[in-house]
C-alpha cells in the first residue's frame, strides 16, 4: 500500500534546478535508501518529503494529501545530532519535548520515555546531558525522540555519516532491528553505497546536474537480499556484490 508518493517533484533553489521532475511511490513499511553524489539534491528531496521545502513543481502526497508542511506523522532525524538536541535538557528531557509537542499528558510521559529509551538501549543514560554522551549515543537520543512522536514515516538525513565505522555498523543493525519490529516506513539518505544496500528494501540513486536527457532519478533498484541482515554475510551475498557494482557504475564513484 502506497503511503507516500512523489508526483513530478521538481525543486529549484536560487534559480538552479536541484531536482528535475521525479516520480516514485513509497509503500508502507518499506525502507528506501536514497543515494547520490554531493549536490544531487538527495537531502533536498528528503526535506521536501518532510514538508520543510515546498517543491517548485509537482507535489509530495502522504496518504493522498499534499504535504504542505511538517507534520508529527513524519519524524526527521537530522545529520548533525550535536545541534539537533537541546543542550540544556537531559536525555529524557529531550525526548519529552516530542511528547510535549504532541500534548501527551505529563502523567504518561515517563513511561513512554522509558520505552523509547529501552528501544535504543539508552535507559541507563536518561539523566545525562547530551554533551556527556558520545556521538553515537547522541544520535540514538535523536532517533528516540523521533520514535517518541510515534510517526508513521521516519526520514533520516545521513544520520550515521559523522560516526566512526564501528559505531555506524552497530547503529545500522540497531535501526534495522527496530524497523523490522515495527511498521515504520523509512526514507534514508546516505552517500555510502554499501550502507544504502545493506539497509534498504529499495535503493533510489540520484544524479547531480540533471538534464532532460539525464533526469535526477538515475536508478531505482529493488534489494531482495533476505532479512535478518548481517554485517558479514549480507555484505558477502552475491546480490549485494552485484548491486554494489551496478550502483557504483551508475554513480561513477561514491
Amino acid at each position: 500500500m502506497s503511503i507516500l508518493s512523489f508526483e513530478n517533484v521538481a525543486i529549484e533553489l536560487g534559480g538552479r534546478q536541484i531536482l528535475s521532475p521525479t516520480s516514485f511511490t513509497v509503500n508502507k513499511g518499506e525502507f528506501i535508501s536514497i543515494i547520490g553524489p554531493s549536490g544531487c539534491g538527495k537531502t533536498t528531496l528528503l526535506r521536501a518529503a518532510a514538508g520543510f521545502v515546498t517543491p517548485s513543481g509537482g507535489a509530495v502526497r502522504r496518504r493522498g494529501e499534499v504535504v504542505a508542511g511538517p507534520s508529527r506523522e513524519m519524524a526527521f532525524v537530522f545529520q548533525d545530532y550535536g545541534r539537533a538536541l537541546l543542550p540544556w535538557r537531559t536525555v529524557e528531557g529531550n525526548i519529552s519535548l516530542a511528547l510535549e509537542a504532541a500534548s501527551v499528558p505529563a502523567g504518561q510521559r515517563p513511561e513512554r520515555i522509558r520505552r523509547v529509551l529501552e528501544t535504543v538501549n539508552l535507559a541507563a543514560h536518561a539523566r545525562k546531558f547530551p554533551a556527556q554522551l558520545s556521538g553515537g549515543m547522541q544520535q540514538r537520543v535523536q532517533i528516540a525522540r523521533c520514535l517518541a512522536q510515534e510517526p508513521e514515516i521516519l526520514m533520516m538525513d545521513e544520520p550515521f555519516g559523522a560516526l566512526d565505522a564501528m559505531t555506524r555498523e552497530s547503529l545500522q543493525d540497531g535501526l534495522l532491528k527496530l524497523v523490522r519490529n515495527s511498521d515504520l516506513t523509512v526514507l534514508f539518505v546516505t552517500h555510502d553505497l554499501e550502507e544504502a544496500i545493506y539497509l534498504g528494501d529499495r535503493v533510489i540513486a540520484l544524479r547531480a546536474n540533471p538534464t532532460p536527457a539525464q533526469p535526477s532519478l538515475a536508478a531505482m533498484i529493488d534489494v531482495s537480499i533476505p532479512h535478518p541482515r548481517d554485517q558479514l554475510s549480507t555484505k558477502e551475498h552475491p546480490d549485494f556484490l552485484r548491486l554494489r557494482r551496478e550502483l557504483y557504475q551508475f554513480l561513477g564513484h561514491h
Partner: protein
C-alpha cells in the same frame, strides 16, 4: 587556603597603599584642604551617615531607581529583541529608528524626563530604562538570530505551537546571552542612576555626594565616593556571578 589569602593580599595592596598615602598627604601637606580629607575622617563621616540613616535611604533610592529602570528595560528590550530577531521584516522596518534613538546620550534626556515626570523616582526610572533598553534589545536580537538553525527546524518538525517554540526553544537558547546583556545593563543602570542624581534628581547617592561637595565636607564626599565604588563593585560582581551560573546551567554541562 594560604594561597587565597595571598591572592587577596596582593589585590588589596595597591588600594590600601593609595589610602595610606592619601591619609599621610591630607594630614601633612594638605591640611585644611577643601578637596581632600584623610580616609580616617571619611570613615567617621561614613559611620555618621550609617547611624543617621541617610546612607541606607540614599543607597536604597539609587538601587531602587536603577533596579526598576532595569526591570522596565529588560521586559521591553527582551520582548522587542525577540520580535526583531525573529522577523526580518520588523528588523528592517525598525533598524533606522533603533540606530537613531540608541545614540542619544541618556543624560541628554534628563531635561525632558524632568518636564514629564518632575523630580523623583519616575524620572530616574525612565532615564535608566532608556539608557539600558538598547543594549538589552540589540544583544537579545543578535542572540535570537544566532540560535542554532537546527533547533528551529526541530521545533518545526515537532510542529510546536508558537508559544511552546518561544518557551521551550527560543528563550532557553538565548538565556545565557540574555544574562550577559543583563550584566552589561546593570553596570550602565547604576552609572546612569547616580548621574541623574548628580545632575538633577534631589535623592539618592548621587545627590548626597553633591550636597557633601557643596557644603564643603570633603570627608563626607570621600566617604560617599568610596561607598558608591563599593556598591558598584558588589552589584557588578553579583551580576557576573549570576551570568556564569546561568551559562553553566544552560550550557549543558552540569
Amino acid at each position: 587556603m594560604p594561597e587565597a589569602i595571598l591572592k587577596w593580599a596582593r589585590a588589596l595592596a595597591f588600594p590600601l597603599a593609595v589610602l595610606a598615602a592619601l591619609e599621610v598627604y591630607a594630614r601633612t601637606i594638605a591640611i585644611n584642604s577643601d578637596a581632600l580629607a584623610p580616609p580616617t575622617q571619611a570613615a567617621q563621616a561614613f559611620l555618621q551617615a550609617v547611624s543617621d540613616g541617610s546612607l541606607l535611604a540614599a543607597t536604597g533610592f539609587t538601587l531602587l531607581g536603577a533596579g526598576l529602570g532595569l526591570l522596565v528595560a529588560t521586559v521591553l528590550g527582551i520582548a522587542l529583541g525577540i520580535l526583531l530577531g525573529l522577523s526580518r521584516h520588523a528588523a528592517q522596518t525598525s533598524f533606522l529608528s533603533v540606530e537613531i534613538f540608541r545614540t542619544i546620550p541618556s543624560v541628554a534626556l534628563i531635561p525632558l524626563a524632568m518636564l514629564i515626570f518632575g523630580f523623583g523616582m519616575n524620572m530616574e526610572v525612565s532615564v535608566v530604562a532608556f539608557a539600558t533598553v538598547w543594549p538589552i534589545l540589540i544583544l537579545t536580537q543578535t542572540a535570537v538570530r544566532q540560535i542554532e538553525p537546527a533547533l528551529l527546524e526541530v521545533a518545526r518538525a515537532l510542529d510546536l505551537s508558537p508559544g511552546a517554540r518561544l518557551a521551550k526553544i527560543i528563550v532557553p537558547a538565548i538565556l545565557p546571552r540574555l544574562f550577559v546583556a543583563l550584566r552589561l545593563a546593570v553596570a550602565i543602570a547604576l552609572v546612569v542612576a547616580v548621574t541623574v542624581e548628580i545632575v538633577a534628581n534631589p535623592y539618592g547617592m548621587g545627590y548626597a555626594i553633591m550636597i557633601a561637595q557643596q557644603s564643603m565636607e570633603p570627608a563626607l564626599m570621600l566617604a560617599w565616593l568610596l561607598w558608591i565604588a563599593l556598591v558598584g563593585y558588589i552589584v557588578n560582581e553579583a551580576a557576573l556571578r549570576l551570568q556564569h551560573f546561568v551559562a553553566r546551567r544552560m550550557g549543558a554541562m552540569p
